[in-house]
Amino acid sequence: MRATAFGLVFLAIVAAAAVAAPYSVSYYQTEVLILFLINLILVCSYRILTTTGDWSLSHVVMMGVGAYTTAILSKYLELSILLTVPLSAVVAGLVGLVMVTPLIRTRGFGFFIASFALGEFVRLIWVKFRDPFGGPRGMIGIPNGEIGSIDFFMPVPYYFFVLIIAALCLSVMYRLDRSRIGKTFKAVYADEDLAESVGIDVPRYRALAFVTGTFFAGVAGSLLAHRLGAVDPKNFDINVMVYLIIWIVVGGSATFWGPILGLAVMTVVFEVTRPLLEWRPLLFGIILILFLVFMPGGLESLFTGLRERLVRRRGSEGEG
């Protein structure tokens, strides 16, 4: 009871801060916040896959599928942003469905490598097919989008648009995580043989997690394409994928909040280390290794550890 009340207060504070934020920071910082919200959708969507134990290396490419879909739909078909975002998600989900069909036959390291190969294959298609994907230089001139008279060229209106979409996506992903299906994903990870023996169709659930994750990655990609106004294959290469992995490793993936925490912390680290220039990837690599070695549960494990200790103390006090 007290926990939910605390949660509601916390949520209200976050909501208030999110609404006030663009009015108290510079345009540049608003752009950073927009990127943060897009990455928020991305990292939470990636966690869906990881709950079944499938650490895909193609997730950023799936975001790219959403981005390219948006580029084509809004440039050539001049569809409204209200259509490009959901349609890009659907297309990313469908491409995810096609990809997961062979991937499901692999597990663990095999899945890791096979997903990378399939992702590179998709990127190769973008590079090779100048029409309509623009080849190695990608596509430019993607409209920023507008709703009625609200032009999303300016960062503040777009910030609010992305904020609403992110809130929507995160609440759906949160409910999914708490639902029977979300628990089944974790059961598949915990003991695949047991899960299958009690009637859980393990490949089907892994596929469901993959497709759901890629669907939301498609949303993130679409929002990104509208903001950048341009997409190219390098936006979605393995370097970006490594950042995604760093966020989720730093935060942890056991709870819904871990990846969010990781992204928030690493976004701040990213911004304050801008002066380091080309040394920054080295720093991030070191951070990744340090976390893998010394805190494999991520930052969230500090909180879950604290909670467990509190519960245990309360328990022993009760006995005493």
Partner: protein, 255 residues
């Protein structure tokens, strides 16, 4: 027609014939014992019947339908479930959550339903039934305990609870009382009998401990080196020279 009909089951691991031409008929309402020395192929027989491993040759029929070649999850939906020789469970989940997670055969899953929480009545039904299963097996005092914190004996019983959650017609138990003390063993033996008598579930029991098998099974199948050595009442089996030989040949007979 028997509830379960195994015809000429063969399972080969490279050069090893772990199950060699085993045929088996289990009637509805039976408690069937399967005994044999370590490495005889009992667990492998469970694996091929439940679909965990593909058969090299032979067929398995359940309720008149061929189930060999199907996935374990489909076979579980058909009403045939097995437990594991190891303490299989979802360790971080509580006892109640474990049983709830294992009720997939009873649920028509759908992502929209899950996200928007439409079917509350179904969830309530599952909760009530899960509690019933837990109480039936005497785990009600541990419903909110994390599975990994249970004693060995309770973890073995949770394995049975998880299997029962699928609402099986036939349950195959792989050494359910392994590592239990005599009091726990008696309790579990009693649960198994009640499963059949009160819930009408047919039971196949793989057991190393002869005393347990002799106490509750009407009919026993003896397996040795992957082959069916004989089949009969506990009385017949224990007095059969070949069976005594098989057990004495490998290890002590625990009677």
């Amino acid at each position: 027609m028997a509830l379960l009909e195994v015809r000429g089951a063969v399972k080969r691991f490279g050069g090893l014939l772990a199950v060699n031409d085993v045929s088996l008929d289990v009637e509805e309402g039976e408690i069937r014992g399967i005994i044999g020395p370590n490495g005889a192929g009992k667990t492998t027989l469970f694996n091929v019947i439940s679909g965990a491993l593909p058969l090299t040759a032979g067929t398995v029929m359940f309720r008149g339908e061929t189930i060999s070649g199907r996935k374990p999850s489909h076979i579980a939906r058909a009403g045939l479930v097995r437990t594991f020789q190891r303490n299989a469970m979802f360790p971080k989940a509580t006892v109640l959550e474990n049983v709830m997670l294992c009720r997939h055969t009873q649920i028509d899953e759908n992502i929209l339903k899950a996200v928007f929480g439409i079917d509350r009545a179904e969830e309530e039904r599952n909760l009530a039934r899960s509690r019933e299963i837990i109480a039936f097996l005497g785990l009600d005092g541990f419903a909110d305990e994390q599975a990994q914190n249970l004693s060995h004996g309770h973890q073995r019983v949770l394995g049975i609870a998880n299997a029962l959650a699928t609402e099986p017609k036939l349950i195959m138990l792989d050494e359910p009382v392994a590592g239990m003390n005599p009091a726990e063993t008696d309790m579990v033996t009693d649960h198994i009998r009640r499963l059949r008598d009160e819930w009408g579930i047919t039971v196949i029991l793989v057991e190393h401990d002869m005393r347990t098998v002799m106490g509750i099974c009407e009919k026993v199948t003896v397996i040795n080196f992957g082959e069916k050595l004989m089949e009969g009442t506990p009385e017949e089996v224990t007095h059969n020279p070949a069976v005594i030989e098989a057990y004495l040949g490998s290890e002590e007979i625990s009677l």
